[in-house]
Symmetry: C2
Subunit: 339 residues, 2 copies
DNA sequence: TTGTACGCGTTATCAT
DNA sequence: ATGATAACGCGTACAA
């Protein structure tokens, strides 16, 4: 009587219920499910079939507690102010999620501005995740410093100044270098650079590539042809105006946001692309697809960087030795804008 | 000796360590932290001060197990194909996360296409979350049906055909109705409608509003002025071409994606907005900010819908009685395009 | 191969 | 007000 009531009142099955029903012990059921430890193939099948029939799913929380493993990871997302940044981070997140799911992991989102450590601390202290993915890196990165100190496994999407940090990135530097070299080889001599904030590593990498191309060509970057720290449309258009006075052949834009403004401003001025001015972008997005003239740009597989970051993180969580630096491939799309 | 070793080998503190150190019992520490149950103010302070000093944080997993509560919720995101959809869902997610964090909850992301139930089932079966937010609703919604059957608390961002589902939405219908009525009152008589797939509830709501405005004006919607199911640029431009033959005054676009194409196509045709044709959009995004002419549109606070959805879900999880339907406000921005 | 017993770190019930 | 003790559901060393 007692046992019947007990059984009926159970909302969901536990490993013990299954064990009792099958006349085996709970540990046997556990072994059958996890595949760890020796177990007779026959009983194994019997258990698996039963839990499949009854659609029993082991309690993830209990498993977490017993294994001190949450099967969760977190992805730290920046607060996106510019809409153009959103596709990158969102798609990256999606890639990470895909790999996470495939490994029976779940993905937790944490959004932070670039300053406040609180959300990170909370996540670390609560121990609800086994590791973290950092999706925007800075030259002086407080988040990395904190995570390193905390001891929690993490990887960074984007380069770090700290070599001990596990980094996954597109080869932004190599890509920009090759792009500029390619422009040179097409007879485009004076390539100007229009960039945003240099506190973000991705922007540093791109500028490095630009500089490297000049160096390899035996030339020096002319200071008058480089604009960085551009954050508003007005600043971009002003930079364009100044560059127009100094006889540049091509404007290389650090990202599609800047490129968007450059294209519009040139159009307003009645300057034809590519006849009067070449334009190229260090980052492609569909924003660039809306122009009458197609834009030469670098293309990175954003989903892939998310996937890779998650793969490396999981490997690290599993105690495997991982590469400190994983550089992903890029595509250079030569289009009309540099013809 | 034994106890010293034990203490030293501890990686992180537990509630028992704290208890032993303070000469109290574990339950007292628990009470001090949770605030539940009676406890002397003096000891309470003593415990709180100690755990603050030692920066002790209770193990979230253990707490989950004991309370059968995960302090996690999931947000189900659609796989975004159109870039224009991304801001909505991403911002909505951000809003939800904000409220979640504020309530000591964490947010898990699950991306699904509109068909495959597996990711949802996995989430439900694993019991890693206390509830879910559904962010895209369909007229015939398999996800809602499944979640309802599963018994897990959930809310939907967007309307549902099922009245028993807890829904949070902008008043898309009301907004569209008011917009069209406003256009009528400005002397704009023939307002055409260009919309996408009618399997999504948001699109159904908008069209309902459009129809309602006609009805209120004592007029009937002319079938030749309504295009739905538009999904490619080509389809949109073809619809525009056809409408141009039939003397419409204004093209009302269901979303910014369609509006974008309409604006571009009209420009290609040399048709001036608003002189030759008025244009309005049922959804605003920064995509619309890039045009030479500003576009009349509806504006919804996307962050707010995410926040609200999370609030209602948490209330529901806490066993509170919640409204079945929460409609959020909207803004109508009258701009040049309908002057 | 299988079962027993204990640990994982809390919360909650019942005494005191 | 506080403490002992039993859950919560699973994993695992150890024993059989």
């Amino acid at each position: 009587m007692d046992s019947i009531n007990k059984e009926q009142s159970k909302e969901v099955l536990t490993i013990h219920d299954v064990a009792r029903e099958l006349g085996v012990s709970a540990s046997t059921v556990s072994r059958a499910i996890s595949g760890k430890g020796r177990i007779g193939e026959e009983t194994r099948q019997r258990v698996l079939q039963y839990i499949n029939e009854k659609s029993f799913y082991p309690n993830a929380t209990a498993r977490s507690l017993a294994q001190s493993r949450t099967y969760n990871i977190a992805i730290i997302m920046p607060e996106v102010k510019d809409l153009v940044d959103m596709p990158f981070f969102h798609t990256c997140m999606h890639g990470a999620e895909e790999v996470a799911q495939a490994n029976d992991y779940d993905l937790l989102v944490v959004t932070t501005d670039g300053i406040n450590l609180k959300p990170l601390e909370r996540m670390v202290n609560n121990r609800k995740v086994d590791g973290m993915i950092l999706t925007r890196t800075y030259e002086n990165d407080l988040f990395q410093a904190y995570l390193k100190k905390s001891g929690i496994p993490f990887v960074s999407v984007g380069r770090s100044k700290d070599d001990s940090v596990v980094q996954i990135d597109h080869d932004n530097s190599g890509a920009c270098k090759e792009l500029v070299s390619l422009l040179f080889s097409k007879g485009i001599k004076r390539v100007a650079y229009l960039g945003g904030g240099m506190e973000q590593m991705v922007n540093i990498s791109r500028f490095e590539g630009y500089s490297a191309a000049y160096k390899e060509a035996g030339r020096k970057v002319e200071s008058g042809m480089v604009y960085t720290g551009l954050s508003t449309k007005f600043q971009v258009s002003k930079a364009v105006d100044e560059l127009l006075k100094s006889k540049v052949d091509c404007m290389l834009c650090q990202d599609d946001y800047i490129c968007d403004e450059v294209v519009h401003h040139l159009a307003d001025k009645g300057i034809a692309i590519p006849a009067d001015m070449k334009v190229a972008s260090c980052h492609h997005s569909r924003l660039l697809d809306n122009y009458p003239v197609t834009i030469t740009s670098l293309k990175f597989d954003t989903m892939e960087i998310g996937r890779k970051a998650c793969e490396v993180l999981l490997a690290q969580i599993n105690g495997e030795e991982v590469e400190k630096l994983t550089l992903l491939d890029y595509e250079i799309n030569l289009k009309e804008s540099t013809k």
